[in-house]
Amino acid sequence: MSTPAVTEPAVAGPPVTGRAVAGRRLTSFMPVIALVVLLAALTVADPGFLTLNSLTAAARTSAPLVVLAAGATLVVLCGGIDLSIAALCSLATVFFALWLPDLGGLTTVAVVAATAAIGAAQGVAHVLLRIPSFIVTLGGLSIFSAIALVISDAGPIRVVDRDVTHWLTLYVGGVVPMAFVVALLVVVVVSLVLRSTPLESWIRATGYSESAARLAGAPVDVVKVAAFTVSGACAGLAAIMLVSRNFSGSPTMADNLLLPAVAAIVVGGTAITGGHGSLWRSLAGALVVTLLRVGLPIVGVPSAYEQILYGAIIVAAVALTLDRSKVQIIK
């Protein structure tokens, strides 16, 4: 298997050693520290940055990324990965633009339901067929892109009726963008639901050691499918945020959000090996990534370096957060 290969009989010793605890303490503050340092650095570079206007704009830009990363975090917590979120999000923008004339106000619900169902289908394929999650979602990525290209005729579709998405462009109290509030709500609600039900322990158990979770009676398969479902629904919601900003649906609109979303998750300190992490971390990670994106041009770095930075960040962050006690052979 090419994902972090856990050998079958999970013989990994006691998962938490002294060093790991210290390391985890550090990584748990890493995203917040990075966020503060970035803000400070940007303010020094351009004193005009720390104003209400630019922070509001940054928050608004970050909203779709936060939602995407939050959804995919659940899958990562289970020990898998979802590489299809960006393609699914693009497909959802096309759905939205196509369905809006017929469904009107119900389109939002319909799109989120559709993407949730697609996410669930991926989860079922992963669980039933025993295919590694990254292969299922890589396959999903290309299938969704193909569907989006075909049904949209490979071009953007204008959204004429803007009333349905108007609420997302409002500002709460005249300051906080509604899209960002919705993104925060997603993180808060999902986190609360996890905490107040056994779901959180099931997800963590699945991520830390799937075979142990199975033996302990956790409904591992159901939990995994649920994680993929939420991830799909989040991709749909992110799509609606994108449409509310761009007034069109396009088969490639969100494709460039995959790397930032993965970067947000790993920068937040969620271990790619599963179990360790949270949605809050991904929120912080997404803000860090957005600030980088917004901030690079301010500091005077050409945006071509953005990609290189993502690549370096992903590798470095995964290296820092990887749970080495669990992975004996890295494939």
Binding site: G140, L141, I143, E210, P302, A316
Partner: protein
Amino acid sequence: MTSPADADLEVVHARRPRPRRGVSLRDAGPPVALVVVFGIFAALSPGFRTLSNVQNVLDAAAVLTVVTCGITFVLMMGSIDLSAPGIMGASAIAVALLVANNRNDNDYGLLGVVLAVLLGAGLGCLSGLALVTLKVPSFMTTLGISAVGLGVATLMFAGVQPNVSDRMLAGLAVERFLGLAHLTWIAFACVLVGWLVQRYSRLGRYAFAIGGAEEVLALSGVRVAPYKVAVFTMAGAFYGLAGVMVTSQLGAGLVQAGRGYDFSAIAAAVVGGTLLIGGRGGILHSAVGVLLVTVLTNGLVQVGVSPYWQGGVQGLIVVAAVAAAVIPQRRRNQVTK
């Protein structure tokens, strides 16, 4: 196959012969599928069964073949490689800027091609090093390296498309030898080189062994890490060459030169019978897989299916092929990540 000698040797493991029969079936499956698919399309479409279309299929398969040659070794080790788009983009732009072009006064000709391939090898080496030293899973390191490659390509692109005016490079895609473009012959050469490496070099055999049982190999005193880095470096070199070939076809360097090739190559390798868990398959399997994927793509277009479905069909094939390969081990393998 269950020869009597085998049966004698393996009294203890009575179940052993079964997976073996599976292997031989798997070896025969892809070529049979290729013939069947070819036959179906030939029956359905008059345009498909012409000689010129067969030439088209072979020419269209050239770039994918080279990419797949690289990725096959990585898959044989049980790793995965998503870095093809980035590395191909970087080398495509690099070669366009190094040979005679409209952006600068360089005219290095063949040396430029070599440098672009070396750039690819360097990037591949980076992902191998990140895997071995930082212990980051390969699908993450290669995703990162792909982004780095795209960034490097965008930097070199600098907003102005470099058009190639070099005769030699542009000629590779146009000039024909025995009815096939020179690029197609390069692809054949790559398959040959890949096969020789796989069959006769320590690198190829260890790549197999790493995929089969890395722990055993390490315990028997082999230092696995250098071979892993070497395999990723070689894969990078193949992607670099593929990027050069795309530039030759387009006559210009594009950042998007390698878009989608990572997945197509994985699809081709998997369809050809290379297992994602490593230790099975090989270059010749992958070559058959490439032909299968290309014939399918070409045939569907000939039959009148929208070319936009291409990626979707590949996605379905990969999921189906991986699922089929996993079925024999279903019961043993409880944990899937």
